[in-house]
């Protein structure tokens, strides 16, 4: 049984889901949580429900905002006062930046962006993708302890029936130490949509959209899941969308993680533009539409009914 510390981040008063995923998977080990600032009773209960024995809240000057050195100094001091075998964190923006520096303070190693793991007799053994996901490998950490691990968000998934922990919360005085690189301001993301060629999620409308106005329902879905809207050549040729939105042989070539094709038949010209999408969802009323041969998930039905239902379901899933 290993002694594990999980570094948690909060966003808008909610602990990031990856923390809960990690805790759930750590059943069988002793898991504490460390977090900067205050945590609501409700969130502490949530952490306890997923397995946290202790929730240590680090507080101190200059720790209200993230800084690589401040957080690393404070956490290092805390970790040194305890006896952890492992320190886990989410491979989030903060995690990816912070954990390597923190681990090095202990002359220790970090297995980063891990997508699955087990403990073999108190020893961590993880799985991670390499070469842009073209292969998988087993990953282990050696050398001085504690060993550090960062977990890719959404890779583990939530444990259905987690083993609860005591969830004892306590405040800890922390020192940020010298901070040489500090955040001066935060610029919110521009509301302009990501370009099709860079988009991580794309929703495309085909000829079955019937007219330009109907693209409204795709825009609504796109807003919820943070997608960019595209169009097939048939839709563009029919005047439903401008050429700049066209995906395909004579349009743009895209490579999103998720591609949702609504009323797109899947002609070869279209496939040429999106076939390297990681996951393809197709909605079409024609069960024989060629797009279904390429789709990972195909829904046979009327897109005008299905799309709004999907939008609502996405809203529920993403808590919007």
């Amino acid at each position: 049984m290993a002694n594990v510390l999980v570094f948690a981040e909060q966003h808008d008063g909610h602990v990031k889901p990856v923390t809960l995923e990690i805790l759930g998977k750590l059943a069988g080990q002793t898991a504490d949580v460390v977090v900067f600032g205050d945590v609501s009773a409700e969130q502490i209960a949530l952490l306890a429900k997923n397995g946290a024995q202790n929730v240590h809240k680090l507080k101190g000057t200059n720790l209200d905002k993230y800084s690589p050195e401040g957080y690393a100094n404070a956490l290092a001091e805390f970790i040194k006062s305890k006896n952890y075998d492992y320190v886990f964190g989410g491979a989030t923006s903060v995690g990816k930046d912070l954990l390597p520096r923190l681990a090095t303070k202990f002359n220790a190693g970090l297995a980063s962006d891990v997508v699955n793991f087990v403990f073999e007799g108190g020893n961590f053994a993880g799985t991670r993708p390499l070469f842009a996901g073209k292969c998988l490998a087993k990953v282990e950490v050696t050398g001085p302890k504690p060993h550090f691990v960062s977990i890719r968000p959404n890779a583990l998934g939530m444990t259905a029936n987690p083993t609860a922990g005591a969830g004892t919360a306590s405040d800890v005085n922390a020192n940020a130490g010298e901070i040489r690189a500090a955040i001066k301001e935060i610029i919110k993301a521009a509301s302009t949509k990501v370009d099709l060629t860079e988009a991580n999620i794309i929703v495309t409308g085909g000829r079955a959209m019937k007219n330009a106005d109907n693209f409204k329902i795709l825009n609504e879905m796109a807003d919820v899941i943070g997608a960019t809207v595209g169009a097939s050549r048939a839709a563009v040729d029919s005047g439903f969308a401008p050429h700049s939105m066209q995906v395909g042989q004579t349009g743009k070539t895209v490579a999103p993680a998720l591609y949702i094709a609504c009323g797109v038949s899947g002609a070869i010209q279209h496939l040429a533009g999106m076939r390297t999408s990681k996951v393809i969802v197709a909605i079409n009323s024609d069960p024989d539409a060629p797009i279904f041969t390429k789709a990972d998930y195909g829904i046979v039905g009327d897109l005008f009914q299905i799309v709004p239902i999907m939008t609502q379901e996405f809203k529920k899933l993403l808590g919007k």
């Binding site: 042989q249 004579t250 070869i268 010209q269 496939l271 041969t293």
Partner: protein, 378 residues
């Protein structure tokens, strides 16, 4: 015998291919359709050192070998054969100066091409004399301290944009080959009249025109070598330029092959990718075989130039084989794409249209065979 490119040549090839993919391919279709001259792309290529590869280092050039030159040209042709015709025309025009020019002429006319972006045209063909280049009629009359040019040239690449012309004419048609001479001409000279841009089957981004010379005065010091030495300079030039043009066909053929392989793996007919059908496999096998053979001929022809060996025979083999193969390969590429290949929506029909010209210019495939036979039967 080392068939491999040197590390440096591979870096050069990498750069040229990167340029072809990032700068040329995205515009090739549009420029072909609209007949747009690729001036900005040409300039960018010049800035990176990818054009005018024939200029020796003593005159400000990068100091490339002929092999380096064909490696670059193949990569640029992979991007677009039409644009590459424009780029190559610089070398075709400057080579006579490199081969037959005096040190002064090289300094005066080659070096400026290394200092700022300039475009050149090579003027040999006439409306009435193509393959029969020896019978050109453009006259060079001795005007005392200058030459006077009268005549008409046809199918001149870059004519509408050139900063320099190299013009072949004759001091007397009765002298036949011994009258042919070469002059360096300023396109802005009085009496130079550009024809309208020709509307061509392929290489449509390349600017091709007729050029009329009406009593154009050219300084005596602009003659390459002596009067009557033009034919020898032209023939020597071909030994360098034919491998270069062949490499353009090679680049186009390689592109057609790559596109065919990609499509054959994607297109499903009769339940399987068409790459599983032997008829398609055999076409692709032929393409691969011909591309490899063409490359070996092109490289050997260029290598012989660098060794200072006379390469007329191999240069002809390279030019004829590469261009004839390119025609077959691009035609087969359209065939593999089927109906889609016939549409301008897909890139292969342009390759087929572009391939045809390379069988014609720089010595037709028929003229090449005459050269080969002559060499073999000497």
């Amino acid at each position: 015998m080392d068939f491999a490119l040197s590390t440096e040549q591979r870096e050069i090839q990498e750069l040229a291919l990167k340029f072809a993919r990032n700068e040329m391919i995205p515009h090739a279709q549009e420029f072909d359709e609209k007949g747009t001259f690729p001036k900005d792309i040409f300039k960018k290529a010049w800035e990176l050192g990818l054009v005018n590869t024939c200029i020796p280092s003593e005159y400000g050039g990068t100091g490339f070998t002929s092999v380096d030159g064909v490696v670059i040209s193949e990569a640029l042709a992979y991007g677009c054969m039409g644009m590459n015709t424009s780029f190559m025309a610089n070398d075709l025009a400057l080579l006579p100066i490199v081969i037959g020019g005096s040190d002064e002429q090289k300094k005066k006319f080659l070096t400026p091409f290394t200092e700022s972006f300039k475009i050149a045209s090579f003027c040999l063909t006439e409306p009435g004399n193509g393959s029969d280049a020896g019978g050109i009629k453009t006259s060079f009359k001795d005007g005392g301290d200058h030459w006077i040019i009268n005549g008409e040239k046809m199918w001149i690449t870059n004519a509408g944009y050139a900063d320099l012309f190299v013009v072949y004419g004759t001091i007397g048609t009765n002298l036949k080959h011994k009258g042919i001479s070469a002059l360096i001409v300023d396109p802005k000279s009085e009496g130079v009249v550009l024809g309208k841009k020709e509307d061509k089957m392929g290489h449509r981004s390349s600017d091709t025109r007729g050029v009329r010379f009406n009593n154009v005065k050219v300084p005596k010091e602009n003659m390459l070598g002596k009067a009557g030495e033009g034919w020898a300079i032209a023939m020597a030039t071909l030994d360098h330029s034919r491998p270069l043009v062949a490499s353009s066909a090679l680049g186009g053929a390689q592109r057609a092959l790559d596109l065919s392989i990609q499509y054959a793996k994607e297109r499903i007919q009769f339940g399987v990718p068409i790459a599983k059908h032997q008829a398609v496999q055999f076409m692709i096998a032929e393409m691969g075989m011909k591309v490899e053979a063409a490359r070996l001929l092109v490289h050997k022809a260029a290598w012989m130039c660098d060794q200072g060996q006379r390469n007329t025979e191999i240069a002809s083999y390279a030019k004829a084989f590469a261009s004839d193969s390119c025609m077959q390969i691009t035609t087969d590429a359209v065939q593999i794409y089927g109906g889609y290949g016939y549409s301008k929506e897909y890139p292969v029909e342009k390759l087929m249209r572009d391939a045809k010209l390379i069988q014609i210019y720089e010595g037709t495939s028929q003229i090449q065979r005459l050269v080969m036979a002559r060499e073999l039967l000497k």
